[in-house]
């Protein structure tokens, strides 16, 4: 029996459960083998529609394979592989199962051809990601994971509402371009749900809240899947939605602004995720073929270099136990390889020529240019400057250089370095040979990133940003503070509103209970009391009265019995005469 198509996501989700059953070298091998098999599966796939299941009277499509979904599946599977290599030293089976389930669910979402299967994998992603956060097992992580799950399940409910609306309006569940339904409730709800997963402000505060709380190895997985599957979903359904241009550009700047204030290394990087996803969302909004190609390629490149950056910060965390910038410094002496690999990622994200970020970000910005969106173009360029400022300058400066605090450190375990090396190689490879990536983009590519104008402008931008950084260095010293974000609403705001609700509704419920008590118990008890009175005073009294009367009569009668026979004979005679009269003259 030939198998037409194996779902790579199900391969990971089901295969993950083998891990708790084996140990030692076999386990390590399987940990790497599973995502490798998934990657091979993705590479060998042919376009088409597979995995069609009939349920609830609808067709559920689990395997929609076309250029767009396959592109995302490559990078998801590749990242699962890199992430598992990075996590080889971790001895916690639960983390591996959660990570592989998360990756598998993301693959499932990418191949979903209808809304219901998309929803299934959406929720599974939320649950497994929350598990990953929880599995650091300390109080901060538990609370952050709970908030993550709360926000994402809310997003899931939003999505469910949109799906239900869509089903009732169109009668079908196919997940495709939503522009014919623009402006309807279904459109809005589904868009909001996708944007929530893409961490678009004001819905995105969960990202910088939760990602730094995960383990060093868990966070690598987290950076890739939720936001990029949301980008995929936006490309699939909402390409060309104008509002996304401005939303994306705002996102790009928002992330950069918050990153200036950040003290926690991984939270800073998390805000940069929001910034980079802003580029992708903006590209989706522009909607031209170049823009969509740009979003997709930027997503591809971003997964790899962001993972590299988190791996670097995670390595520092692993070796020194530190996460806050104001406590780090001077590590370049003892962790040079980590530094070098980290800088590859930093250059990639900053779009330095010869790195992957340059060839992908260029497309989006050029698309903005070609569509004559000057505002978006300028905002995105500001964000580019800001990105280099934080990720390429501030973070490595305070982490690796800066004030030497005499920290004893060494290079992290070799599996972490290997994983980082793989990601760095990919970043360089795509940068130097952009056609490696361009060949897989959804639309045919007619774009050359290495033009004179572009290269020189970018180099100038980056160089003078560096100048600005060093001139204003003293203003950037990290302080032990946090910044308020929209998560305030459900961290503080919720308890306030909850207290109000509780008191108010508690009173309402109290009143309703008293009323229904009064209506039901009141009359019943009143009637019961009445009847008891009746019983005691009337009926009972009547019964007692009759008893007394009978007693009196019988007493009288007993008095009338005298004992003389002539009285008895007289009474008998009168009685007989009365009876005869009655018979003769009666009725």
């Amino acid at each position: 029996m030939t198998v037409e198509w194996v779902h790579p996501g199900l391969l990971l989700i089901a295969g993950a459960w083998i891990l708790p059953l084996i140990r030692g070298w076999t386990k390590r091998a399987v940990m790497v083998l599973l995502p490798a098999l998934a990657l091979i599966d993705c590479v060998l796939m042919k376009p088409g529609t597979y995995g069609v299941v009939h349920a609830l009277g609808q067709e559920l499509v689990f395997g929609r394979v076309d250029r767009l979904s396959v592109l995302f599946s490559y990078v998801f599977a590749l990242l699962a592989l890199i992430g598992m290599i990075y996590a080889l030293h971790v001895d916690d089976d639960a983390q591996h199962v959660a990570a592989l389930s998360y990756a598998g669910a993301a693959l499932g979402a990418v191949f979903a051809g209808d809304f219901l299967s998309l929803f299934l994998f959406w929720e599974l992603m939320a649950l497994s990601a929350a598990l990953i956060v929880w599995l650091r097992r300390d109080r901060g992580a538990v609370a952050a994971g709970f908030r993550y799950l709360l926000v994402h399940l809310f997003g899931g409910v939003c999505l469910l509402g949109g799906i239900a609306f869509y089903w009732s309006q169109t009668g079908s569940l196919t997940f495709g371009d939503m522009s014919p339904h623009a402006g309807s409730a279904a459109f809005t709800l589904i868009l909001l749900a996708f944007l929530l997963n893409a961490a678009a402000p004001p819905l995105g505060a969960w990202l910088p809240d939760a990602y730094p709380e995960a383990t060093a190895t868990g966070a690598v997985f987290l950076t890739a899947f939720t936001t990029k599957s949301a980008v995929y979903a936006l490309i699939r359904g909402f390409a060309g939605t104008d509002i996304l241009v401005w939303w994306g550009a705002a996102m790009a700047v928002y992330g950069v602004v918050y990153a200036v204030l950040e003290n926690d290394a991984r939270r800073l990087l998390a805000y940069h995720i929001i910034s980079q996803v802003g580029y992708m969302v903006c590209g989706v909004g522009i909607g031209t073929q170049l823009a969509v190609n740009g979003s997709a390629s930027h997503a591809f490149a971003h997964i790899l270099y962001k993972a590299l950056l988190f791996m670097g910060a995670g390595a520092v965390l692993q070796v020194t136990g530190l996460r806050k910038l104001n406590e780090m410094g001077g590590l370049y002496k003892t962790m040079p390889i980590t530094l070098a690999l980290y800088m590859v990622g930093a250059f990639a994200i900053s779009a330095v020529p010869l790195f992957s970020g340059f060839v992908s970000k260029a497309m989006v910005v050029s698309a903005a240019g070609e569509s004559h969106l000057a505002g978006a173009f300028l905002l995105l360029t500001v964000a580019s400057s800001g990105t280099f400022l934080h990720t390429g300058l501030k973070l490595p400066y305070y982490m690796f250089f800066g004030r030497d605090r005499g920290l004893r450190a060494q290079e992290p375990p070799s599996n972490m370095l290997v994983a980082m090396g793989l990601a760095a190689a990919a970043c360089l490879g795509i940068g130097v040979f952009p056609d490696l990536l361009y060949g897989y983009l959804p639309y045919p590519v007619d774009y050359a990133p290495y033009t004179t104008r572009h290269v020189t402008a970018t180099l100038g931008l980056l160089g003078f940003t560096a100048l600005g950084f060093f001139l204003l260095l003293k203003h950037l010293d990290p302080e032990p503070i946090i910044s308020l974000d929209t998560d305030w609403f459900y961290r503080r705001g919720l308890s306030v509103s909850l207290a109000v609700t509780q008191r108010g509704l508690g009173r309402v419920e109290h009143v309703v209970a008293r009323i229904s008590d009064a209506i039901v118990r009141g009359p019943v008890l009143a009637v019961a009391t009445c009847l008891r009175e009746l019983d005691a005073n009337v009926i009972d009294a009547a019964a007692v009265g009759i008893g007394r009367l009978t007693q009196a009569v019988s007493w009288r009668l007993s008095r009338s019995v005298s004992g003389h026979p002539q009285h008895y004979a007289l009474v008998m005679a009168i009685g007989v005469l009365v009876a005869i009269a009655f018979v003769m003259f009666g009725p």
Binding site: V260, Y332, K333, E370, H372, F377, T381, F464
Partner: protein
Amino acid sequence: MKLLERHLEDPGRLLRLKRWCYAGLIVLAMSEVLAPRLFHAERAHFWFEDLPAWGSLYGLASCAVIIVVSKLLGKLWLSRPETYYDG
């Protein structure tokens, strides 16, 4: 990394490094102005892209604006002590 250490620790070497960097920046700015003229450059999308050394200037300006605006936002509104949510 001994190379790097030597350059960063020694103040003399550090000063020389800084001078080389400034020189490099000037080269970058010049190349930005000259290269599109010397080599074939594609049409610019917007008018401001034709400003001389616009990338360099915009980079410096963006960097400064971002830092200033963000710090202001932080001081006036967003920054809180680390233990803010723990209560």
